[in-house]
């Protein structure tokens, strides 16, 4: 079987602007890959195009998820198939409680897979287990989705959603930014708990810090819309020392 995520010569345009310019990436099942790169290099663009956000147009190339082309799929179909994006900037939804949101999401995914919905009791049980492991207070479940959450709470909430939905492919877009060391450890533990031979994770980050808690199998450097370099986890440490100047220069075309 091919990789879980296979991105080939991906060109993506946002508005009139081409952001991804021939990106190649293969992420095998069971592995964790990191994508690092300077600000504005297209990391979030990549994450959105995987999740199916409107306005991100694939002009060339393709994204295969378990051999299937993601392009024609609605965001909810992708989620049902096991794609999950932890947003760099989680969205606030006043008036929808976190619990309702999580329950609707889980049951929608279960329905689309032909599984039975969880009733309120079963769901609460499942949720309790996850919140306990992630150290999330009950009060956060009763509040509206991300509304008035601190930066750290929002990121932890993304990980809670991931833990509840149990995706096959998790893309974490700078989930580490703005976290203190304790929150970072919690997030990393959440990701590590999900590691298994049939799941994959794409960790997008600006810093090496998170990668000392989530050990990546491979590290890729994204700059100017393409993977400029790939290597083992030692590449992250090297980047931490040298910075991204090299890649900024490379792509200055």
């Amino acid at each position: 079987m091919g990789p879980m995520l296979d991105i080939k010569n991906l060109h993506v345009t946002v508005g009139e602007k081409e952001i991804l310019k021939g990106l190649d990436l293969a992420l095998p099942a069971g592995e964790v890959h990191a994508i690092m790169g300077p600000n504005g290099s297209g990391k979030s663009t990549l994450s959105y195009v995987i999740a199916g956000r409107e306005g991100y147009e694939i002009t060339k190339g393709q994204i295969l998820f378990r051999g299937e082309d993601l392009a024609p799929m609605q965001p909810e179909e992708r989620a049902a198939k096991g794609v999950f994006l932890a947003f760099q900037y989680p969205v606030e939804i006043p008036g929808v409680t976190n619990t309702t949101f999580l329950k609707e999401a889980l049951n929608a995914i279960r329905r689309s897979r032909g599984e039975s919905e969880l009733d309120a009791m079963q769901f609460v049980k499942l949720l309790r287990r996850q919140t306990k492991e992630l150290g999330i207070p009950d009060d956060m479940l009763k509040r509206s989705v991300n509304a008035g959450f601190s930066g750290g709470e929002k990121k932890r909430n993304e990980i809670l959603q991931m833990a509840v939905l149990q995706p096959l492919l998790a893309v974490l877009d700078e989930t580490d930014s703005g976290l203190d060391i304790d929150a970072l450890k919690i997030v990393a533990a959440g990701v590590n708990r999900l590691r298994s031979p049939e799941r994959s994770t794409l960790v997008i980050t600006h810093y090496q810090r998170l990668l000392s808690y989530i050990e990546p199998d491979r590290v890729h450097v994204l700059a100017h819309g393409r993977i400029q370099r790939s290597g083992g986890k030692e590449l992250a440490a090297e980047l931490e020392r040298t910075g991204y100047a090299e890649f900024k220069a490379v792509a200055a075309e």
Partner: protein
């Protein structure tokens, strides 16, 4: 072909024959009141867009539909299930096409001090206080449809909560309309008197059956005396071709409180014009509402809150959702009169437009004639938030359900203003049922 504008006289045609059958026959004061109403209606004529209060709402339905007075036979039609909204109500009064249906109503077991009667019965019983209040709470008002109601009032209820009496459970008044051979018109008139220190909750539910046209021209007068409190809720779920015009006048006394919430979920034209006078120090009101319109429906909320005394306060929140080609109007005026210092008035109107064809006209107005007041108003209209939609969908929630969730969340902010929990749940259920696809979300609103 150009539409024919119709006149006040034409609308009155057909009603003169039945004049003798109107309730309160033989009461000179009432005959006098009706005559005045009739005269005023003819003088004022049908409202046109030249009138500030009718600037954005046209009376087009009157041009293509002829209404006849509702008859006893219209009121005798068989209705299998009375669409009651509340499980626990202190009393229920049911009207069908304007006719009081005693066998479907239940007013037994009300505590002493609470009296609820259909208008016709109350007039026949000759309760003296009615003459002192009917038409007097409103005073002389240049509102044509209020005047028309005064001339033709034929149903509705008279409620009196005696001094110091408090009624916990709501009184539910149900008006079922429709299923007649030709379009009918009837004129419910409600009078609610909450005496000193008394409190009560009244829910008025207008519901249409079938798809035929009809015209309900309602008028309500409310007097909340010193230290009294009234929660006054309305749900309008009229048929697609129906017209519901409601005009209300409310007087709030010293340290008294009036809370209103109006939910409109249907009707070709549904218009509510509410005037509240905060008449004595410490008087306060909450005037809130929500509306959900689709197709070619039109909804108009026109409100005036007058602060006439010091230390009075008002809160107003209206939220609406408009789909297809529907239209809504919100005109909210807050007037702080001279001498009403230390008052505060806050108003907010928000609309969610679900389609490119939907439209809203909003006109918030503050008129302040005194210093030392706190007032604010805001109006906004927008679409569903694309980022929120994407976020929900990225978690597997199908688009239709995601939209429902967001619409519900938007309206919940308004419905949460309803302080009676049973009524709030009933309102939220109405909202859920209005939504395009069934959702799985009801329990969220239950626990609150």
């Amino acid at each position: 072909m150009a539409r024919q504008a119709i006149s006040a006289d034409q609308l009155l045609q057909g009603f003169d024959a039945g004049k003798g059958a109107l309730p309160g026959r033989g009461l000179p004061w009432l005959a006098n009141l009706r005559a005045q109403g009739r005269e005023r209606f003819r003088t004022l004529g049908l409202p046109t867009a030249k009138l500030e209060a009718w600037r954005y709402t046209r009376l087009r339905p009157f041009e293509d539909t002829q209404f006849r007075p509702a008859t006893e036979a219209d009121g005798r039609i068989n209705v299998d299930v009375i669409p009651a909204l509340l499980k626990g109500a202190a009393a229920r009064i049911v009207f069908i096409n304007g006719l009081y249906r005693q066998e479907l109503s239940n007013v037994a077991g009300l505590p002493a001090g609470v009296s609820i009667e259909p208008l016709a019965k109350a007039l026949a019983a000759g309760s003296g206080w009615i003459a002192d209040h009917l038409g007097r709470v409103a005073g002389e008002t240049p509102q044509a449809f209020f005047a028309l109601n005064t001339a033709l009032m034929d149903s509705g209820v008279v409620v009196k909560i005696a001094r110091g009496t408090s009624l916990d459970l709501p009184i539910e008044i149900v008006h079922v309309s429709g299923l007649t051979d030709r379009p009918i018109m009837y004129s419910p008139r409600n009078l609610i008197l909450v005496e000193e220190g008394a409190s009560a909750t009244v829910l008025v539910h207008h519901v249409g059956l079938g798809a035929g046209a009809y015209f309900v021209n309602g008028a309500t007068e409310v007097d909340v005396r010193d230290g009294g409190s009234l929660r006054h809720y309305t749900v309008e779920a009229e048929s697609i071709d129906a017209i519901n015009l409601a005009t209300a006048h409310v007087r709030v006394g010293r340290d008294a409180h009036y809370e209103a919430f109006g939910l409109a979920v249907g009707g070709r034209l549904s218009r509510s014009e509410v005037s509240i006078r905060l008449a004595a120090p410490g008087a306060s009101c909450k005037l809130n509402g929500a509306y959900l319109m689709r197709g070619a429906e039109h909804c108009d909320n026109t409100t005036v809150i007058e602060h006439l005394a010091p230390h009075t306060s008002s809160r107003e929140v209206f939220k609406g959702v408009l789909d297809d080609e529907s239209r809504a109007v919100f005109q909210g005026r807050i007037v702080v009169h001279k001498g009403a210092q230390k008052s505060d008035g806050h108003q907010l109107s928000k609309a969610l437009l679900l389609s490119a064809g939907a439209e809203i006209d909003q006109k918030p107005e503050l008129e302040i004639y005194t210093d030392d007041v706190k007032c604010s108003h805001g109006a906004a209209a927008g679409q569903l938030d694309a980022a929120q939609l994407f976020y929900l969908r990225s978690r597997g929630i199908p688009e239709a359900l995601a939209r429902n969730l967001l619409v519900q969340a938007f309206l919940a902010e308004a419905v949460e203003e309803v302080s009676d929990i049973g009524v709030r749940e009933a309102m939220m259920d109405k909202v859920v049922h209005w939504l395009p696809a069934q959702c799985y979300l009801q329990e969220q609103w239950r626990g609150r």
